[in-house]
């Protein structure tokens, strides 16, 4: 799963691809055919050495491991640092590291015959995860979770942030090792708040009390991306989850009868309705980069978006701007006010036919180490999925996101129906935009979502999915 959006939605290549595909429609994706990798187990030539606490998979000295890194928004410098960490313990194992943005184009054709040992399956050109698992093309990595941590107490599994194991698990087995951790919330400029003597609100009441003071300074209190419906949808769902708790959202994901009409959902959305009605939004229907720049330019006090903001806008963050993340606001009586909106992403996989799976798993252990993950956080200004990666990084954005996760309940906010049902995905994006444009009230939004969910539930041509956890 890649939660980090592409830099720009408008790329000539995807545009032409889609236009061409829409015109032709008829040539079945050749890539899918070639994706069928054989699943019979292959002999590994890298293992066989004695296993120990420092070498739990028995990596053989003198063997080599091929690691492919996705060189996207996070860069690839952090991976080179992991190589140093790895070689400190295994000086006689050669790491051949390469980085690319075309994971599927370059790696998929090799999956059936001579794959790399460790592949970071990420970015726009990634291999479909379910296909890889269903074809038996990638290795279950449950033994990695039970192996001792590289440089800490306990096992590798113990050292991961909540949700990471769940995100990488399918059909009861752990396949995908997500190394990055994304947190969503409301960003503000701590330096500005200090200067003005404002306190960052934690509840809606505090926000509505602060808003007039912000407006008096000629700023808009709030801004969000109004061109992509999934941006406001994060915020709306954070509010719903916090107000009514996990089970109600699971019911929504499972298309349970009347799930949207559960007590408290309309009330959870009413502050957003009020925010729009009271004209607390920055005027204009800006897209993600426009709205983020407007926030950095001091035109709005808060923006809601994920932790990739720091990297995405790195070039234009003004000096002295203390980018700080705070949790989505809650209101009195919320059932799960302390649950945080976060998810792991940027997943590594080990191909089933990889010649040196032992070293691949050992390299993953190094990536997930305290030393490796701290370097990751330092270089990418994003949290790693290993606990404590951001503890020693001097960066307000990262430190505040880190504090947010640590102060949370341990339960993570997540919504599955957009991945389950394309119709509901589209509808919820559209309706989120409408609510934030003031063309729908909270109650109308809920009515329309219920109607859309009912329509999908009744449509026999749509395969139904179930959320359990």
């Amino acid at each position: 799963m890649s939660v980090i959006p592409e830099k720009s939605d408008l790329s000539r290549r995807t545009l032409l691809q889609r236009a061409g595909a829409a015109g032709l429609l008829a040539i079945p994706a050749a890539g899918l055919l070639s994706a069928c990798a054989g699943s019979e187990p292959s002999k590994s030539d890298g293992g066989g050495a004695a296993k120990s606490k420092d070498n739990p998979f028995g990596v053989k000295d003198g063997s080599a491991v091929k690691v492919v890194v996705f060189n996207g928004g996070l860069g690839d410098q952090w991976a080179k640092e992991d190589k140093v960490v790895f070689n400190a313990k295994h000086p006689n194992v050669t790491v051949n590291m390469s980085s690319t943005q075309k994971i599927k184009t370059e790696e998929q054709p090799k999956m059936a015959t001579q794959p790399s040992d460790l592949v970071m399956n990420s970015g726009a050109d990634m291999m479909d995860r379910s296909t890889l698992i269903n074809e038996g093309a990638i290795e279950p990595l449950d033994d990695l979770l039970t192996a001792p941590a590289w440089d800490g107490e306990g096992t590798v599994g113990d050292s991961l942030l909540p949700g990471t194991v769940g995100d990488g698990t399918q059909n009861g087995k752990f396949y995908v090792v997500n190394v990055a951790y994304t947190v969503w919330g409301n960003w503000y400029n701590a330096a500005l708040f200090k200067k003005e003597g404002w306190t960052a609100p934690t509840t809606w009441d505090e926000f509505f009390a602060l808003a007039p003071k912000i407006k008096a300074k000629g700023m808009a209190p709030y801004v969000h991306d109004a061109a992509h419906g999934y941006y406001p949808r994060w915020a709306l769902f954070a509010s719903i989850w916090k107000a009514v708790g996990k089970q109600a959202v699971v019911d929504i994901d499972n298309l349970k009868d009347g799930a949207w009409k559960a007590d408290g959902i309309v009330a959870a959305l009413e502050p957003w309705e009020k925010l729009v009605k009271d004209k607390l939004l920055l005027p204009g229907k800006l897209d993600h980069t426009q709205s983020q720049q407007a926030f950095l330019d001091g035109k709005a006090a808060f923006i809601q978006v994920g932790t990739w903001l720091k990297n995405e806008m790195a070039a234009t963050i003004p000096p002295g701007f203390e980018l700080t993340m705070s949790d989505y606001w809650s209101k009195p009586g919320d059932k799960a006010a302390k649950d945080v909106f976060a998810a792991s992403g940027e997943g590594f996989v080990v191909p089933s036919k990889a010649p040196n799976k032992e070293a691949a798993k050992e390299f993953l252990r190094a990536i997930l180490s305290k030393a490796g993950s701290a370097k990751f956080a330092e270089l990418t200004k994003s949290l790693a999925s290993t606990k404590g990666s951001g503890d020693n990084v001097q960066d307000t954005a990262l430190a505040s996101a880190n504090a947010l996760v640590k102060g949370g309940s341990g339960e993570l906010i997540s919504v599955k129906f957009p991945d389950f049902y394309a119709d509901l995905d589209k509808e919820s994006q559209n309706l989120s935009e409408e609510l934030m444009a003031g063309r729908l009230t909270a109650a109308q939004f809920v009515d329309k979502m219920q109607a859309a969910a009912d329509k999908v539930a009744k449509d026999s041509s749509i395969k139904k999915q179930t959320r359990t956890a």
């Binding site: 408008l10 889609r18 236009a19 040539i27 079945p28 229907k285 119709d423 589209k426 935009e433 444009a437």
Partner: protein, 313 residues
């Protein structure tokens, strides 16, 4: 045709025809075949469902909405593009003052021709990026910024352009803003087309008309327009095709590709969503086939209606 020549021609045509059959005609046939199945696009299993997909088309609200949006473009894109192109071509060729050298265009017409044709040279992506800046929905947009400066637009309530679903003359505002881009980018090409056609009209016809006391208005409607009938008819068909597509503009210029809330949904955007996001390739193919049939019928009807005896000159 003599025997040897036939063999010679066949030899040259065999390869291109084979390529055409394989890469163009065969995919079309395949799409038509898939439209009779419930193929999902990601497996090799599919069930034959007969005309179910086509029946479903008629009860699909979203498709109906998209259809009427396409019809809107079908009427307006050719109408406005051709009107603007004709007007410009007329001014550039015969709209200027008359003097001893005869009929000519307005002053500087050579330069204007280059300027008007320019959008045709730009790639679609460049056009889209440029218009995103022009249509930007806050004070930094070209239009909004200007209008806010001179006080015509309230800074707290800027024009939303393609994010505006409110109806104008019964049609969502976003469609009108897209229409403006389509007309702007198309008019230059048809201006050149019409210019070429106008230049082939003998100057003495105009001179005769002017001697008889016809002004610019009458020369245009009584002389130029009737003699351009063929070119306009062809332009109308081409522009009809463009109007039935419009996919690229909707894809890059509207919120959530077809929004806000389906206000700019067109056939192609629904088709794309159905195939690539919903994974219902069979149904999407049915949409494609339906659109193709509609397009062919339209072109046939249009050419039939506008057919007339050619005037030789």
């Amino acid at each position: 045709m003599r025997h040897g020549v036939a063999r010679f021609v066949t030899g040259f045509l065999a390869l291109p025809v084979a390529l055409y059959l394989f890469y163009v005609v065969w995919p079309f046939a395949q799409a038509a075949g898939y439209s009779l199945t419930d193929w999902g696009g990601y497996s090799d299993s599919q069930r034959f469902v007969g005309l179910d997909n086509y029946v479903r088309l008629f009860s699909d609200e979203l498709i109906r909405k998209a259809f009427w949006h396409n019809v809107f473009f079908l009427v307006t894109v050719p109408l406005f593009t051709i009107a603007l192109a004709l007007f410009l071509a007329f001014l550039l060729n015969v709209g200027g003052r008359e003097d001893r050298a005869g009929i000519r265009g307005v002053f500087g017409s050579a330069l204007y021709k280059v300027i008007f044709f320019f959008p045709q040279v730009l790639s679609l992506v460049v056009i889209a990026v440029m218009w995103q800046q022009i249509y930007r929905t806050d004070g930094q947009g070209l239009i909004n910024g200007l209008l806010i400066k001179i006080g015509l637009v309230d800074a707290d309530n800027p024009i939303a352009f393609t994010a505006d679903p409110e109806p104008f003359l019964g049609v969502p505002a976003v469609l009108w803003w897209l229409l403006l881009i389509a007309v702007w980018s198309g008019a230059g090409f048809y201006m050149v087309l019409f210019s070429a056609a106008m230049q082939s009209i003998p100057k003495d016809i105009y001179e005769a008309a002017i001697l008889d006391g016809a002004g610019r208005f009458h020369t245009f409607f009584k002389v130029t327009l009737p003699l351009l009938r063929d070119s306009i008819s062809v332009a109308w068909v081409y522009l009809g095709f463009i109007a039935l597509d419009m996919y690229a503009l909707v894809f890059v210029m509207t919120p959530s590709q077809g929004g806000p809330n389906h206000a700019s949904e067109i056939f192609a955007s629904v088709l794309n969503f159905t195939a690539f996001q919903k994974g219902q390739f069979g149904y999407a193919c049915a949409m494609g086939v339906a659109l193709a049939i509609f397009t062919i019928l339209l072109a046939a009807v249009q050419l039939r209606i506008t057919r007339r005896d050619r005037i030789e000159y």
